[in-house]
């Protein structure tokens, strides 16, 4: 069995002392930032990118991956205990989880979230291992025209499923693509939009963009809001183990959440956030015991379903990134950046050229999930204490880490100034209601897209119909158009808005 051989390579790589330590480090850090509201995985991974220069590629990616799925565990803790989702994907967990905590059942809710996430994480690891190789095979058949169309689908998919105005989201992608044009043209060697600034001829560092918009922009926005009142149910966390009835109730919800999350994670624009929303809706629609607690008043299924789904989605969203080199969400965009920093060109060849990295990363996800369940259930008390740290201590620390990261990126203060500029830009986006995540995706994919477009046109001798006459490319473009049409239909539009109103 190839699958087992491959997983054996992976576990061999993941079980070295160094990689175990980095997986553990990532899991701890992920839980930490998941617990702390106002600090998400995007900002954290951006913050840590400069420090991975000192690491090998495999431990670096293992650690960054650990941060992402670790934050899904940590985010549920705050959602349940203080009704503040530490992570956007835990928004729906707060609905029933917090009600359970108010009724003195915080322990059961935390256990449901933790055990559900662990189960989902284990299944999703297998899904990634099973589906990555065939997709990679497919990707090798792609020419530049197919790649270009695939990126169009990826970018459109990333926004149709998000909340907010569709036109604005597509405009944000274009803005990202344009910012990606500030570089030296790969084909002709002409510097573009550099205004004779030598640093700009290499392009804007995407760490500077990510930190400016997601790091500084968010800090300013958080400080601009009046301080929230937090009520922490710390004393009520006892009796972690759910009752037998709880287990019976949550088992089907965990299964449904895992399945849904695994599927939605692979889709462009999918990942943890969408998975948890969809799973909550599904749980509300499916029938439970006749005498169960209604939804919104502390139903354990409302915690187990979405929490399993967001963890499964977080992990399967690695599939398009690992096999095609196309990031389905902002976190994966940063992972692509991390691979590039380590000199690995993301794409289908990663599996064959760096099998240890590829399978080690997958195996480490399961190991990391095992660590997380230990970190989060028996040691829950430590994380609860962290919730009492006020934001006024936190944000200078975030700033300090960001600044040092920016400076060490190229040992140059230019990146620090760029991040200041993008902090302003991020604030403007926030005030104007423009979601910045699509911009980051566009920025990452911009140069790749341009190269593939120009190569496709070169091959077809300038014939634009090449994108429609090649069947695979045509199918992908039709899929992109269909997505836009479907989301724009009045009935679906209303549903989509409704789905995101629930938070």
């Amino acid at each position: 069995m190839d699958l087992f051989n491959n997983l054996a390579i992976g576990f061999g790589a993941a079980f070295t002392l160094q990689n175990l330590l980095y997986a553990f480090g990532g899991a701890v850090l992920g839980t930490l930032i998941g617990v702390l509201p106002g600090l998400g995985p995007v900002a954290t991974i951006a913050m840590l990118l400069p420090s991975i220069y000192a690491l090998d590629a495999t431990p670096a990616l293992i650690m960054l991956a650990g941060i992402y799925y670790g934050s899904q565990y940590g985010g549920s803790t705050t959602a349940i205990l203080i009704n503040v989702p530490g992570e956007s994907a835990s928004v729906v967990t707060a609905i029933d989880g917090y009600q359970m905590a108010r009724k003195g059942r915080a322990g059961a809710a935390l256990a449901a979230a933790g055990l559900g996430s662990f189960f989902a994480g284990s299944v999703a690891t297998m899904v990634v291992a099973a589906f990555a190789p065939p997709l990679t095979e497919l990707a090798f058949k792609f020419g530049p025209a197919e790649y270009f169309s695939l990126m169009v689908v990826g970018l459109i998919g990333a926004v149709v499923l998000a909340s907010g105005s569709l036109v604005k989201a597509i405009a944000m992608i274009l803005l990202g693509l344009l910012l990606g044009q500030i570089n030296t043209d790969v084909i002709s060697g002409v510097p573009r939009y550099s205004f004779d600034v030598p640093e700009l001829t290499d392009g804007i560092g995407f760490v500077a963009i990510a930190m400016g918009i997601f790091g500084f922009g968010e800090i300013i926005a958080n400080l601009g809001r009046p301080a929230e009142h937090r009520e922490v149910f710390t004393k009520d966390v006892r009796g972690l183990w759910p009752t037998r009835q709880d287990f019976k109730d949550m088992a089907p919800a965990v299964l449904r959440g895992t399945t849904l999350g695994s599927i939605l994670g692979v889709l462009p624009g999918g990942g943890a956030l969408l998975a948890s929303f969809a799973a909550y809706t599904l749980e509300k629609k499916s029938k439970g015991r006749p005498d169960e607690v209604p939804f919104g008043q502390g139903n354990i299924r409302g915690v187990a379903g979405p929490e399993s789904a967001n963890n499964a989605g977080a992990q399967t969203s690695f599939i398009p990134m690992l096999t095609l080199g196309i990031p389905p969400n902002a976190v994966m965009a940063l992972m692509v950046g991390a691979m590039t920093i380590k000199g690995i060109q993301p794409g289908p060849q990663v599996m064959t050229s760096n099998p240890e990295l590829f399978w080690g990363l997958i195996a480490s996800m399961w190991v990391g999930n095992l660590m997380l369940i230990v970190l989060n259930l028996p040691l829950i008390g430590i994380w609860i204490k962290l919730l009492t740290v006020p934001y006024r201590f936190l944000f200078p620390a975030i700033l300090a880490f960001c600044c040092i990261g920016l400076y060490t990126l190229n040992n140059n203060n230019f990146d620090v100034y760029m991040a200041v500029l993008f902090g302003l830009v991020g604030l403007a986006f926030y005030k104007l209601g423009c979601e910045p995540a699509p911009l980051l995706l566009g920025f990452i994919l911009g140069p790749m897209m341009e190269e593939n477009l120009r190569r496709a046109l070169l091959l077809s001798r300038g014939d634009w119909t090449t994108f429609l006459t090649r069947p695979l490319s045509a199918a992908l473009l039709i899929a992109a158009v269909l997505m836009i049409v479907v989301v724009s239909l009045p009935s679906i539009k209303a549903k989509r808005e409704e789905a995101f109103q629930e938070d």
């Binding site: 620390a397 700033l399 060490t408 203060n413 620090v416 209601g433």
Partner: protein, 154 residues
């Protein structure tokens, strides 16, 4: 004509301006032909597309009713100036004065942005974070960051 969504109106204007800006910039570079696209080909197309979408957003903001006119609301100017100013100062000071000076400045100044400022707390935060960063980044990760001012180390 009445603007029905302030947020959308101004984001639309932003998209138009930036899109046209990039398209105008692209005219400085060789356009090539569709068989041999030059460096200006892709940005020109993207710029016009962005400007078009911006116009669409503006059109929507003038025609589609919103409940409260989507006001942009007050800008957190004070916080923005303090935070971004502190970061810019860090960028200015780090190569010359080193981490031992630049970090405390960054932490001290940025703390002013929070509504609650207590001298003792900020001092503790400064010491803990500066020592912590020195341990993690210089000792632990071995990054080359100047620690002391150049006039001391020579």
């Amino acid at each position: 004509m009445k603007i029905k969504s302030q947020k959308d109106f101004w984001s639309g204007i932003m998209f138009i301006v930036v899109g046209l800006g990039f398209a105008w910039g692209a005219t400085n570079y060789s356009m090539g032909s569709s068989a041999r696209p030059g460096p200006g080909y892709f940005p020109l197309g993207l710029g016009f597309l962005l400007a078009f979408l911006g116009a669409l957003v503006v059109f929507q903001s003038l025609t589609i009713d919103t409940r409260d006119g989507d006001p942009i609301g007050p800008w957190p100017f004070k916080q923005a100036v303090i935070i971004l100013g502190a970061v810019a100062l860090f960028g200015l000071t780090i190569p010359r004065l080193g981490m031992a000076v630049a970090l405390p400045l960054l932490i001290g100044i940025s703390s002013l942005a929070s509504g609650e400022f207590h001298w003792k707390e900020v001092l503790v935060n400064v010491v803990v974070l500066t020592v912590g960063c020195w341990l993690i980044f210089i000792k632990g990760l071995g990054l080359t960051i100047p620690l002391w001012p150049t006039f001391i180390t020579g």
